[in-house]
Amino acid sequence: MRVILYFIIAIGLIGVGVFESASMSADDFKRRANNEAVVNERSIRSILALGSVGSLIALKIISDGRQTVMLKGNERFLAPGEVLIKSDVD
């Protein structure tokens, strides 16, 4: 029984990072819609959720999502309204 609890905690902790990455990405969509620049500063929340290396990785995914990656056709992002739930954006 205790093992199941540990597994749930493990998946929940990974989920924290997933939610943080997703919210950073969703936030960038809002900024891009308003023609605002990419936020290159890491917040305390993102460092706690993703760590010193993980938060850098998340930032690079976002900045590359706007520049290199989209230009080279390696990744394609859907329009915000097609996927995002309102609570994730706000």
Partner: protein, 375 residues
């Protein structure tokens, strides 16, 4: 599936766990702690347990479920990100990514059967299955076949339709087996994986590369510090297929030269080739196991000089992966050479020379290679 519960561990194991969790927390925060906890729980599973001294140079009881642990972490991340963010995974965007990841999944399943029940499939059956798998992948998606690698003779063969397909299929099967063969020291194959996905992520910035870099970084920390895990056949087959697919696409796209990939993946390829030649010269089957690999000999050299057996094992793996793939990552990060340059073949030549000189020296001062099968 019976699993040892965390508090049942000894004091030394708890201090090892504390160090691993600290490093995971500093580098990857709450997510890193979650991934480390998941790996710790799976490493305690009695399923896929490897007996002491059975795997590579390990002399402690370890788990072969490393590949499963990495897969679970990557799947949670990618599925979660796809569900709640604007990210569209590669398998949805392009057919070739779908076919590649199907091949990776099949390779993992093939290896997983072996991890759970050793000798469940005969070596010939596994080899045949890999030929069919990669043959089908390159037949359906010829986009993976590079047309120029910088050598006139090889380029000519690659440009000949059936011959090019056959050549890349043989190379792919050999590469996946090579990576499996190299998974014998802590931090060796995970080190190659971290360096490779680090390069791919820096170059492309794809979320999938980021997820793989994250999962393999946590696994690397776990593997090097504790030695309780190996990638196992599922992990090494799956990783081999993923590195192969991304490497081939990188060369086809023109983002990387063949020399860059040769330098990045030098150790598994070279060690595989040298092992096959050594066994052939000794009149043995190329599939028979032996202890003549460079990592076996380097470990034998380090063991009396390092107090902890786990650290001797980990030092062996980290020295080899660091001086090959790690060196490529450092040169890439310092931007000393463009990734498309053929000068990477020069670094590859240095790695080959270093491998042969070290192996020659260690072979001359150590006992002869022992083979598991009779002549």
């Amino acid at each position: 599936m019976r699993i040892s519960i965390l508090p049942a561990r000894s004091v030394s194991e708890v201090s090892t766990l504390a160090l691993m969790f600290f490093l995971a927390g500093v580098t990857f925060g709450a997510t890193g702690l979650g991934a480390m906890l998941l790996m710790t729980l799976l490493s305690g599973s009695h399923l896929g347990k490897d007996a002491s001294a059975k795997h590579g140079i390990s002399n402690t009881e370890s788990s072969r479920l490393g590949g499963l642990a990495v897969s679970i972490v990557v799947i949670i991340y990618i599925v979660g990100l796809s569900a709640i963010s604007p990210y569209t995974p590669g398998i949805v965007r392009g057919d070739h990514y779908l076919y590649l990841w199907s091949a990776i999944f099949c390779c993992c399943a093939l290896g997983f059967a072996e991890d759970i029940k050793p000798d469940f499939l005969t070596p010939k059956l596994r080899l045949g299955a890999k030929f069919v798998l990669f043959g089908a992948l390159f037949w359906v998606c010829p986009i993976f076949i590079p047309l120029t690698v910088g050598s006139y003779a090889i380029d000519f063969l690659l440009n000949t339709p059936i011959l090019g397909w056959a050549l890349v299929t043989v190379f792919a099967v050999g590469f996946v087996n090579a990576l499996n063969m190299a998974d014998g020291a802590n931090g060796l194959v995970p080190g190659i994986a971290v360096a490779s996905f680090g390069v791919f992520f820096m170059e492309y910035g794809r979320p999938m590369d980021g997820a793989l870099l994250f999962a393999f970084s946590i696994f690397f920390i776990f593997n090097v510090i504790s030695g309780w895990y190996f990638l196992g056949d599922a992990g090494s087959y799956g990783l081999g297929a993923a590195l192969l697919g991304y490497g081939l696409l990188g060369v086809v796209d023109g983002h990387f030269s063949a020399g860059f990939m040769a330098a990045l993946y030098c150790y598994p390829c070279l060690d595989f080739l040298v092992s096959v030649i050594r066994r052939w010269r000794a009149g043995r089957s190329p599939f028979s196991a032996d202890n003549g690999h460079l990592h076996n000999r380097l470990h034998r050299f380090l063991k009396p000089r390092v107090k902890s057996p786990v650290m001797a094992n980990s030092l062996t793996g980290v020295i080899i992966s660091g001086s090959t793939s790690g060196a490529v990552l450092v040169i890439y990060l310092l931007a000393l050479l463009p990734t498309q340059s053929d000068l990477w073949f020069g670094l590859f030549a240095i790695e080959v020379a270093l491998y042969l000189v070290t192996l020659k020296y260690l072979t001359s001062v150590q006992p002869k290679t022992q083979y598991s099968d009779p002549v």
